[in-house]
Symmetry: C2
Subunit: 340 residues, 2 copies
């Protein structure tokens, strides 16, 4: 019954890449962004900075604002408009994380108790709304309708992706195509927008905008694929979220899609029951991880991620070689080497 599987070339993991270069490249500007973030998450209502600060100071990688800052370096932008806009991007992201925690009923986020566990769902929803509004206030202050268009559209697409993911939840028949559509919306749209707006503030032109959009979008897909792989990778090093969350929530991610597609009848029966929520014990999770391993579904997911990371890297070819470009290339390599 199961489809024939083309044996995967057992590629070497890419060289041990790091975020070091992109972190150095953007460190000074990121201090300015952090100052904006701290300043603009304030409110006369004390619960707002308390709740927002719990997540914002909770050690996220600031990947999305970092893309805005790195892009600005890449195109040689000399101004400071991108600081506010990068803060707006991080606020949008933080708002979606807060709402995700409510949607998923998460216990952990970035290795500590999720905001909804400490502050409750109501406050978490509302502070998300506040940060989302603040993001738009920051963009309005900047005054670029083009940036506003890019980020308001990205926000709508993120919400669509999240709803689509909800609809696909516990649906074992979800296809790889649909999954790619979902992560393209819920994750990659903001990566693309964050990256693109650096070219907008620098007034580079359409080709540069498009190239940075492509870079961010493909990088975002690669990041999400690896995140989803790590949730089933028995060997992977530590993660911020609870291992096995996706499994217990019946989320259809690529490792499951591939293991199901490649599985025999008995295995498919297990997956159907598990994704519907009837097999969610620790033993069931261990069995799921074993099935995924036996079909090389984590490695296949990583292979897909490498494909998108390579597209991200190649999108940068229109820019002349520079320290910024090197750092952005290595960030894409890092995205797919995590957990080895």
């Amino acid at each position: 019954m199961s489809a024939d599987v083309i044996p995967l070339p057992l590629k070497e993991p890419p060289k041990q890449a790091s975020l070091g270069p992109i972190l150095s490249l953007t460190a000074t500007a990121m201090n300015a962004v952090n100052a904006v973030i701290l300043d603009r998450m304030q409110s006369e209502i004390p619960l707002i900075p308390a709740l927002a600060g719990h997540l914002i100071s909770g050690g996220g990688k600031r990947m999305r604002p970092m893309l805005t800052l790195a892009g600005a370096e890449l195109v040689g932008y000399q101004g400071s408009r991108h600081h506010k806009l990068a803060a707006a991007v991080e606020f949008i992201h933080t708002a979606t994380l807060l709402h995700d925690d409510v949607v998923d009923g998460s216990d952990l986020r970035r290795g500590k108790a999720a905001a909804n566990i400490i502050f409750g769902n109501p406050a978490t929803v509302l502070v998300g709304d506040f940060l989302f509004s603040r993001a738009f206030e920051l963009m309005v202050e900047d005054g670029s309708l083009k940036v506003l268009k890019i980020l308001s559209n990205a926000s709508a697409v993120i919400a669509e992706g999240e709803v689509d993911q909800l609809t696909a939840q516990r649906q074992i028949e979800t296809s790889e195509e649909r999954y790619l559509g979902i992560i393209g919306s819920k994750t990659a749209a903001l990566f693309a927008a964050a990256s693109r707006i650096s070219a907008v503030v620098a007034e580079c032109g359409e080709a540069e905008e498009k190239a940075l959009d492509d870079y961010g979008r493909n990088l975002g897909i690669a990041f999400q694929l690896v995140d989803d792989a790590l949730d089933y990778d028995a060997d992977a090093s530590e993660m911020g979220k609870d291992r096995g969350d996706d499994f217990r929530e019946g989320k259809m991610t690529l490792p499951v899609i591939l293991a199901y597609a490649r599985g025999n009848d008995e295995e498919r029966t297990f997956w159907r029951a598990a994704i519907q929520g009837h097999r969610s014990s620790d033993e069931d999770l261990a069995h799921a991880v074993e099935l995924i391993r036996s079909h090389d579904a984590v490695e296949a997911t990583r292979e897909r991620a490498r494909h998108f990371a390579q597209r991200a890297i190649d999108a940068l070819a229109i820019f002349p070689a520079s320290k910024a470009r090197e750092a952005m290339v290595e960030a894409a390599q890092f995205a797919v080497s995590r957990g080895y």
Copy 2:
């Protein structure tokens, strides 16, 4: 222990006002707004229009977009930009209603099952986010940074008001001043913004903008005061939400604040227990309604509402007499005559 109460003049209720004139005034334009709303709540993700449509076609009064349309009539605006912007206002409002239903755990909204009951909290949160993003997309299409500033600021203030209300929940010592601050943010800010933007698109000038802002803001406060009075008014005619919701949720609204302030020690003991959630049976609600009645707290709340409605009406004095102005005056009178 209780403060002396200045006896209230038992005013006649205002003449039986109606929304008829403002509905007629804005009927044609509202059709255009509804077309925008229907068009822009669509998505390739079927759950989005299904959930949004449940609330949007659920018979709301469209008060906020109506203010934008009426204001445009008042100032003689001839264009059609206000159609999209009024739709954006309604989307922002709808997003906050969806999130409110999750925050309050509502069962009913506008007399039928709340979206969260039918579609669940996760989808309700996310579709709220979608509509909120769509609102900004509509504003960006219009292209006025001034309108974007007004509505992004209003959105942040609404969220602050909602969080503040959450913080005040079950806090019997909440003062009238704080309560007025909360409803000024959570309700009146969007009334004010919706009204103000009509003067912005018509390029009227600061005085007209300010007058329409004042009209909307005071009207919004009056509306909310009457809503809160009706939740404890034994004689009032039908309402969309469950009678007694505020009581059971421990929400500090003006009827409770006044009854507590005017109550004796024994009554205050009851209120403390009730607002903390220890007295929430039907008998307790009946007792609360009786205490509120005995201290004329519903009528006093209505009297406050009449004060703000009058300020709304007087704010229109800078505009020449017109059919539009008459209709807006009567809308303010209607706001405070509901439920008699």
